[in-house]
Symmetry: C2
């Protein structure tokens, strides 16, 4: 089969011909239909060499496809022949390939009204948004702050907030992004380039008791952001869209306002949850997908243009998702 590999640590991506893998007990073989480029894929590509052997590492955290072979066990048998959304296992084989072996517990069947393209993006973002509201509920936050709200995940957070009746303060960089969100029905939108932004965030978060910030930017504004949060707030850091810039914080703010900063990474979360919790969450996602949520797609690429796909995505993340289609 054709699959994407890393030529060297960090890239570039190249295509190679390898054996089709064989599913063991509890696993299935999926013929991949589509697979998105996620920010977490990019982070994983950067660090793959420290965790995996580059000779066997295939990127791609999630995708969609058809189960064409089942290992022993009940669940693999159930999925055989079904069209599924799937995520890669903890091994090195990902979705950026013609075929992937993964635990059957990492798949769920797609209903007819969900396309291969939309279905391929139905795990990482929805599971992350669900996990965010689990944290918010468990810790009693009354409202949430959603940085990079124009991203696919940001929109999912807004949507889930609406369904759960939890106010979401959406932060975007540009006025056009604010206009888009407003036209989609968002109520609270702040533009981070506005000179009054931190003042606005301070008063709105105080008013709504928004004591949890989900931040995938981690940029130059980080220190300012946390300095205006209400007392006792939590910051959940789940990405680093700003790239190599490293966020700074003022220890006196952390002390004086009793702020907590916490890392969130879906794959770690999944390991900690255990299988039952993960399957329950997949059911929630499956329900969410059936309500016709769609994510904007910018372009699709064949596997042979993996590097171009990543470059296109990095050039303009808010233009929509980039998909690999074997």
């Amino acid at each position: 089969m054709k699959a994407i590999f890393l030529e060297k640590p960090g890239g570039p991506l190249i295509i190679k011909e390898v054996e089709i893998p064989v599913p063991s007990k509890g696993e299935v073989l999926v013929k991949i239909a589509a697979a998105p480029v996620n920010p977490s894929d990019i982070a994983r590509i950067k660090n793959a060499h420290s965790e995996y052997d580059l000779d066997t590492f295939i990127p791609g955290i999630e995708g969609s496809g058809t189960v064409i072979k089942a290992g022993r066990g009940i669940l693999p048998g159930l999925w055989l022949g079904k069209r599924v959304a799937c995520s890669s296992g903890h091994g090195s084989g990902g979705t950026w390939a013609e075929y992937m072996v993964t635990p059957a517990a990492n798949c769920f069947p797609l209903s007819q009204n969900v396309s291969d393209e939309q279905g391929s993006m139905s795990l990482v973002n929805p599971l992350t948004a669900i996990a965010f509201f689990d944290i918010a509920k468990r810790e009693g936050h009354k409202a949430v702050i959603n940085n990079a709200a124009a991203s696919a995940l940001g929109r999912m957070v807004e949507l889930l907030g609406k369904r759960k009746n939890i106010p979401v303060i959406n932060i975007v960089r540009k006025k056009e992004q604010a206009d888009t969100l407003r036209s989609l029905g968002s109520r609270y939108i702040l533009i981070s380039s506005d000179p009054l932004f931190t003042k606005q965030l301070e008063s709105l978060s105080a008013e709504l008791k928004a004591t949890i910030l989900f931040d995938s930017v981690c940029g130059r504004q980080f220190s300012d952001l946390i300095s205006v949060l209400p007392y006792g707030s939590k910051v959940v850091v789940y990405g680093n869209l700003s790239g190599e810039e490293h966020p700074v914080f003022d220890p006196r703010v952390l002390l004086g306002k009793n702020i907590t900063i916490e890392g969130f990474y879906l794959a770690n979360q999944a390991k900690e949850n255990g299988m039952i919790r993960n399957i329950m969450n997949l059911r929630k996602v499956s329900k969410l997908m059936q309500t016709g949520m769609t994510i904007k797609i910018n372009r699709t690429f064949p596997l042979s243009e993996g590097q171009q796909a990543v470059d296109t995505y990095l050039e303009n993340m808010s233009a929509g998702k980039v998909l690999l289609v074997p």
Copy 2:
């Protein structure tokens, strides 16, 4: 009475003559015998103007003295005439004065074998160290990492760890500090200027399962420190000895290793605890003091030399504590 005030936001400290305050219900009037300069006093002086009216703000978080007047209530009456350790209330009047009014619940009696000087330092550091081990126990950390271990508080953490049979990894800056700690019986000591320091911390924290770091430095090494902690570690930030430098972190480390960074400030903690929990903690401190723990004193100053006292303390914090003696 004579008391120390701030001439302008941030200082300098000046002495003024004001009325002796009168205790209300639940409060006592303490004739101050001695009061230390703590790092938290310095932070409070820097930020006092945003929280207090500088015309009435007197610095000084803790001290010792004799209760010479009691407001209504059972506890004030109990303390009348007793020599006590005391902390300032949430109002603006502190211990850097000849007299202070404070809630009786902020005092506990000193036994005869504890001097005024040692007694004056018996609240902030012991209560902080007790709170640290409460956090460690509640969250199941098997061992702790103690940055700035040569400070008065750092030594208290080491001591309490020994009593509670919880291994403490002590981090100091200089070899001489390591020698001192070793001579006092510390087992695990790392020197942060050693080129192998981060490697040593990585392997020792993994071996001992030291998954909580107490950091009052927040300096240039912050990012390196957290990058070598075990998966799932917590960093409790309780000071900023490195001064104006702001710590930086790598979001990918926070995500990948599921790290949490949390601010700790004793005064906030005390408010959250409520009175009963605070009184229980004061009892623990009182027991701790009776076992003959002593803290090194560098110099004492009269109230009229408040600014010199602070300057002397800032010049060399590990030389020992600086006390104000009215």
